[in-house]
């Protein structure tokens, strides 16, 4: 729960603070257009950290975005991952790839044409192609002992939508860092009735209809006139 609350606060607070500043400073100024077009490639560096900490799941995520007029960014994201569940009563592996597409809208006005820092809100549609391999379960009780069986492998296709927020800061020329927080809503819960994977890369816990996630990106921008 703390994680969710912190996510939401992190999403909202920057907008509150900056909204106050900008309302006074930019009053009466006209919209400043960027002087270049920009295509940006990024990698989520938080996922390798989580992979190292977590023993039973892994994921890798990449992003691509392109700036459109009015400080809107067309965003495509992709990745892959899986889980290796090895509990005493349940064992299986799963793997999946995923794709997301959507837009981010900057909430800050540019200070000058080459100012590419921004706070944003956005939306995504996501699709994941998931394969859970054969699972082995064990039930145990004090009277009859342990019973073991197998659940056949199964493939799933998951569809979800996301609300996003975050920021990007240009640390060096063309080099960005920033994060995205996400609230995700699974659209086809019924497809995940029988032993959904504990972890779906790009989404989160496969048996939850709502998931929250966080990415920390390093990005490189290619610009041209």
């Amino acid at each position: 729960m703390f994680r969710y609350i912190f996510n939401i606060l992190l999403l909202i607070l920057p907008f509150c603070l900056n909204a106050q500043d900008d309302s006074t400073r930019t009053e009466g100024t006209s919209f400043i257009k960027p002087d270049q077009k920009q295509l940006r490639l990024g990698v989520d560096i938080s996922k390798p950290i989580l992979n190292a900490v977590s023993g039973n799941r892994h994921s890798y995520e990449f992003s691509l975005d392109y700036n459109l007029p009015k400080d809107i960014y067309l965003v495509a994201e992709a990745g892959w991952g899986g889980s290796d569940i090895d509990y005493t009563d349940l064992k299986y592996t799963s793997a999946n790839s995923f794709f997301r597409i959507g837009v981010d809208k900057s909430m800050l006005q540019r200070l000058f044409p080459s100012d590419w820092d921004y706070l944003f809100v956005g939306a995504r549609y996501g699709i994941g192609f998931i394969r859970r391999n054969e699972a082995v379960y064990t039930t145990a009780d004090p009277v009859w002992g342990a019973t073991t069986g197998t659940i056949p492998a199964q493939s799933y296709t998951g569809h979800w939508v996301e609300l996003t927020g975050g920021l990007r800061v240009e640390l060096l020329r063309g080099m960005f860092a920033g994060y995205t927080v996400r609230a995700k809503f699974l659209l086809n819960q019924s497809a995940f009735r029988e032993l959904p994977p504990a972890f779906v890369a790009g989404y989160g816990k496969g048996e939850k209809t709502t998931a929250f996630d966080f990415n920390f990106y390093l990005q490189y921008a290619i610009r041209w006139k």
């Binding site: 039973n56 009563d89 349940l90 706070l119 039930t139 009277v143 504990a198 920390f216």
Partner: protein, 161 residues
């Protein structure tokens, strides 16, 4: 703009470390065992019955040789059905001080049920029949077929003594 955003960038980096501490498996917060609930009763008229409190009764799972000892006077018993077979045999000793037994055989259909990744799988059952000897028992009645862990339903079996 960059100076202010840099602070938030740092916050995001710290947050990455924070979520690294997330636990891997959620705790299981629901019952994982579906008990067969049995009640001992006796008739007091043609249409009404009352609980029969048994003194230190014992239920013996015949095929696993596990004895369930109830060390107080009670009329309610939670038994476990065998998830590896379609029947379970129990010997009921209504009073541990008296060497008198009845055998009950419960016949049922098993249903494997996925609870969650946190809780794993369990078995639910549909009770079809109960057969018994009649040394101490008068009769056995199935009141509720679904052995599914729902405790807000009537007990599954009444044994009349």
């Amino acid at each position: 703009m960059t100076d202010r955003l840099n602070l938030w960038l740092l916050a995001g980096l710290l947050f990455t470390g924070l979520i690294s501490c997330e636990q891997e498996r959620d705790p299981c917060l629901q019952p994982t065992t579906a008990y067969l609930r049995v009640r001992s009763v006796k008739m007091v008229s043609d249409t009404t019955h009352v609980d029969t409190l048994l003194t230190n009764p014992q239920w013996i799972a015949i095929d696993s040789q596990v004895t369930l000892v109830f060390d107080r006077r009670t009329a309610a018993f939670n038994l476990l059905l065998n998830p590896s077979a379609d029947s379970a045999r129990y010997a009921l000793q209504p009073d541990s001080a008296v060497a008198a037994y009845d055998t009950l055989v419960f016949y049922y259909e098993r249903r494997l049920k996925f609870l969650s990744n946190a809780c794993g799988y369990t078995y639910f059952y549909t009770l079809h029949d109960v057969k018994s000897t009649h040394h101490e028992l008068d009769s056995v009645l199935i009141r509720n077929n679904d052995v599914d862990g729902n405790v807000n339903t009537p007990e599954h079996v009444q044994v009349y003594l």
